[in-house]
Structure formats: C-alpha cells, structure tokens
C-alpha cells in the first residue's frame, strides 16, 4: 500500500512538471529541454532553507516559486530572439549549465553526493510524516495545478498562446503583444516547477543532481509527448504511465545490472514508436 501511495505521490508531482513542460513546449511551442533544471532550483532552495532551519515549508516553497518564475522567464527569453529549432540548442546549454552548477556548487547542493536528511513538509504546525499524509498534499497540489491549467487554457490567454504557436506575426497583426504573453507563460511554467521542487525534496528527503539533469528533462518531454501535447489529460496520463513503467519492469526478472539500461531502451523505443504511429500522443490534439 505504501509502495503504491508513494508511486502516486511521485506521479502527482510529475503531473505538475508535465504541465510546466506542456505549457511551454506543447501550447506555446517553446521547445525547452531544461525544465528539470528549473525544477532542481526549486528543490534545492526549499531543501537549503529547511536544512538550515531558516524558515518553514510554506515560506520556503513561496521563495522557490518566485525564484523559479524569474529563472524560467530568463531561460525562456532567448526564445524571443532565437527562433524555433535554434532555441533547443540554447535550452540544451542552459540545462548543461544547471547540471554543472548542481554538481559543483557543493555548499549549496552537496554536489554529486546530494543533500540527505531533508525534513518532511510541515503545514500549519502539522508534520507530514507518512506517505499517506503526503498523498493528501500532493493530490491537493496536483488538483489545483490541473484546475489552473484548465482555467488558463480556456481563457483568452490560452487562445493567445495557441495562436502564438501557429503564427507570431499574425498575433502582432491582430494587435496583441507576443512578448508579454510568452513571459506570462514562462512565469506560470516556472511556478509549477517551483511547487513541484518543494514537494519533491521534502517527500524524497534526499536529492542529488541526477533528478534534475538532461535525462530528467527528457523524461519530462517524454511524458508530455506520450501523454499528449497541449491537453490537460495528456499531462496527467504521461507521468502516471511513465513512472509505472519501471515498477512493471521490476516484475520481469532482470539482473539489476541491465535493468536500468533496459528501461532507457524501452523509453527510446516508445518515443520512436509514438512519433511514427501516434505523434499526438495518447490524449493529445491532432498535430
């Protein structure tokens, strides 16, 4: 039961991250491969504040959100100058920079050894000690996250973002500012990553750079692609499916030495197969 509950908690945290990625990559068409870096900054900020006992979970997460909003705006800004495919390279560079920072800035991040012993979240004097208690928190966060995504996408803002993906010049000709809308979308995506960072660090109680590296960013992209671009349901299905995969694979008797490689193999095959046969993902919009 605890095993299943912790799977759901993680999946719900990744739903927030998938929404963040979906908003940028799917909806606006800013092909970011550095969402895990922003997620990592949120996680490290909350961890550091809690480990040094500077403040509680809520204010720490609030600061993490603000930091991730600012960071995500800054990392997305090049997309205003660098068009389409070229932005992927820029974003790739940002991710590499972040990984280098996480690994080498040992005072703040513990370097490659990571940060152990992160205390669990405390809300209004109530400590979330068990996985089931976390499940309540992560469920509330995921539901609120999905609700916000749904509200935003059906508002004029959502329509503006879809239009920007199709044709930025036409959006300007319709009298709307592309810059402002993109910055707003990046801010919102950053906020999702900040919340996810705080939840992830306190739930796992240990974080290290491997959760926030390029592989992690690609996992997020895979979730959005397999689940389905641009839709809310896609960003829910993707994380639940891809996080279940390793668990399912443990049922197959594989030597541990090849299990990890085998998982990567499956991810790769799945991505290629989806691109060839169902590019819109399981529950995405027709591309």
């Amino acid at each position: 039961m605890d095993f299943f509950a912790s799977y759901v908690v993680l999946a719900e945290i990744y739903v927030l991250l998938a929404l963040s990625t979906n908003l940028l990559v799917g909806v606006v068409g800013i092909f970011s491969v550095s969402q895990a870096a922003v997620f990592g900054v949120g996680a490290y900020i909350v961890s550091d504040f809690l480990l040094t006992d500077t403040m509680g979970f809520l204010p720490a997460t609030a600061i993490a959100i603000v930091a991730c909003v600012v960071l995500n705006i800054l990392t997305t800004l090049p997309s205003l100058r660098v068009a389409g495919d070229y932005f992927v390279v820029t974003s790739f560079g940002i991710q590499l920079l972040a990984t280098a920072g996480f690994t080498n800035w040992t005072e703040g991040t513990g370097g490659a050894n990571g940060l152990p012993g992160i205390p669990p979240a405390e809300l209004f004097g109530f400590q979330l000690a068990t996985t089931l208690q976390y499940l309540e928190l992560s469920t509330i966060a995921a539901v609120l996250g999905c609700l916000c995504f749904w509200l935003v996408m059906r508002a004029p803002f959502g329509r503006l973002l879809r239009a920007i993906r199709e044709d930025e010049l036409a959006v300007a000709a319709a009298g709307k500012g592309v810059l402002h809308a993109k910055v707003s979308a990046a801010a919102l995506a950053g906020a999702y990553a900040g919340v996810a960072g705080g939840l992830y660090a306190t739930f796992m109680s240990f974080i290290d750079p491997s959760s926030f590296d390029l592989d992690a960013s690609i996992l997020l992209l895979s979730m959005v692609v397999l689940g389905g671009m641009r839709t809310l349901s896609g960003s829910i299905i993707g994380p639940f499916l891809l996080l279940a995969l390793p668990q399912v694979l443990t049922l197959v008797a594989l030597p541990t030495s090849v299990a990890a490689a085998f998982r990567q193999l499956i991810y790769g095959v799945l991505l290629i197969a989806f691109m060839l046969f169902r590019p819109q993902g399981l529950a995405g919009e027709r591309l």
Partner: protein, 253 residues
C-alpha cells in the same frame, strides 16, 4: 492634416532598393488601390505602415501621429490593421476564435485573471464571442463560426482575414490582394464587402492586381514601380495611360 501620410520612405534589402523616396497620402473614407508590377514595393509599403518593417528613411503619420518605430500591436491600437497576401490565419483554431483573438483589450489575456476570476472571465468571454459572431455575420461567415479554419474554402478564408482586421476596431484597413485567386462568385462577394466597409466609415488601402476589380472599387489609384510612386489619380485615368499599361503588362520601362 492628412489621414495617412507616407513621406520620403526608403527601404533597402541588402543592395536591393525596395522603396526609394516614396511619398503619398491616403484620404479618409476612400478606397485607395495600390497597383504595380510584381516587386514594385506594394507589400513593403504595408510592412512599413504596419510596423513590421522599419524604413531606412522617411516618416509615416496617421492622423498626425508618427508611426515609425511603433511595434505592430501599437499600430493596430492606433487604428490601422492589415491582412496578409498569404492569409496567415490560425488554421488550427475555429473561425470564431480567429476573430475573437483580434478583439481589443480582453479580460484574462494573462494567467492571473483567468485563475483568480474564472467566472468573470467566462462572462466576458461569452460577450466577446457574441461580438465576434456579429463581425463574422458582417462578412457573411456566420454559419461557419465553429468550423476549424483549415476546413474552410479559400474564399471563406479570405473573408475571414477581413473579419479579423474588422475585429481589431481599426479605422484604416490595409488589405493585401483581397480578390486574388477567387472565383467569380466569391469575387463579387468580396467587392460588395469592400463597398459596405467603406459605407460604414472605414478607409481602405488595397493592393490589387486585377484591373477590373480596381476599376470597380477604387476612388484613387497609386501606381508603384521599382520602389517609386509613378502616378496617382482616378482609376480610369491610370488604367487608360498607355505608358503605365506598358510597364504593368510589358515589363520594364
């Protein structure tokens, strides 16, 4: 004070001079047609007036307000909107959404309003949809409101581009070849629509190749050649001018 005044505008693309010292005026309430052979600089003028291209020299003033240096969306707010030769519609959105998006100053065009005032957002959206439906009806597309744009015919898509500029509320409409590629029936619809727009108080600057269309709708014709204004006048006079006809149909001077 003239309505729209383009004065001494020059645009270079590398070594090519797309516009050299071009000056003209557009009078309020009239339909002015821009004609000239391919490469004369007609679309370049549109790009300069609507802020998509910054001229190397010259000025553009609209009702006394200088426009050079303003961003395209600011020029739309100032009252000038344009269509594109290649339409540039949002083909994955519905016809209605293509129009709604161009309505000015909407609530919840940013995430906070959408998240914290969802009911107000929904109410305002419903109102905006009604406004957009009225605009669609104006161009005769009311029936097609909920159709995704890629499923519309070419003629319908052309009408939709006009609906989109109308939705901005702009007073001066720049239409880039609104009649090209249309069958006879659709052509008549577009010409009738342009007349109706004029009657409703809009001013039109239209790039058009079809001389029959020009003759029928234009109050004034600007003849452009190799980046320069060669002649200006009533359509009959311009079209009857053998020298201009030679340039238009026979190539270089």
């Amino acid at each position: 004070m003239s309505y729209l005044a383009v004065a001494g505008v020059a645009v270079n693309f590398g070594g090519l001079q797309a516009l050299t010292d071009t000056s003209f005026m557009v009078e309020q309430g009239r339909i002015t047609c821009l004609v000239g052979p391919n490469g004369a600089g007609k679309t370049t003028i549109f790009n300069v007036v609507t802020g998509f291209l910054r001229p190397a020299a010259g000025s553009v003033t609209f009702q006394g307000q200088p426009l050079v240096g303003l961003r395209p969306q600011a020029i739309v707010r100032a009252g000038i909107a344009r269509t594109f030769q290649n339409l540039r519609l949002f083909v994955d959105l519905t016809a209605l959404d293509n129009v709604v998006i161009a309505l000015p100053a909407q609530f919840a065009e940013e995430p906070l309003g959408a998240i914290f005032r969802p009911l107000h957002t929904a109410r305002m959206q419903a109102r905006r949809r009604e406004e957009a439906r009225a605009v669609l009806a104006q161009v005769g597309l009311a029936e097609r409101a909920n159709e995704v744009v890629r499923n519309l015919s070419y003629g319908e898509q052309k009408l939709l581009t006009v609906a989109r500029v109308l939705a901005t509320g702009a007073e001066l409409l720049l239409l880039d070849e609104p009649a090209s590629g249309l069958a006879a029936g659709a052509l008549d619809r577009v010409m009738a629509l342009l007349r109706t727009l004029q009657d409703s108080g809009k001013t039109l600057l239209v790039v058009e190749h079809n001389t029959r269309v020009v003759q029928k709708i234009a109050d004034e014709v600007l003849f452009l050649h190799q980046g320069q204004l060669l002649a200006q006048g009533a359509p009959d006079r311009i079209i009857a001018d053998p020298k201009l006809a030679e340039i238009y149909f026979g190539g270089a001077l």
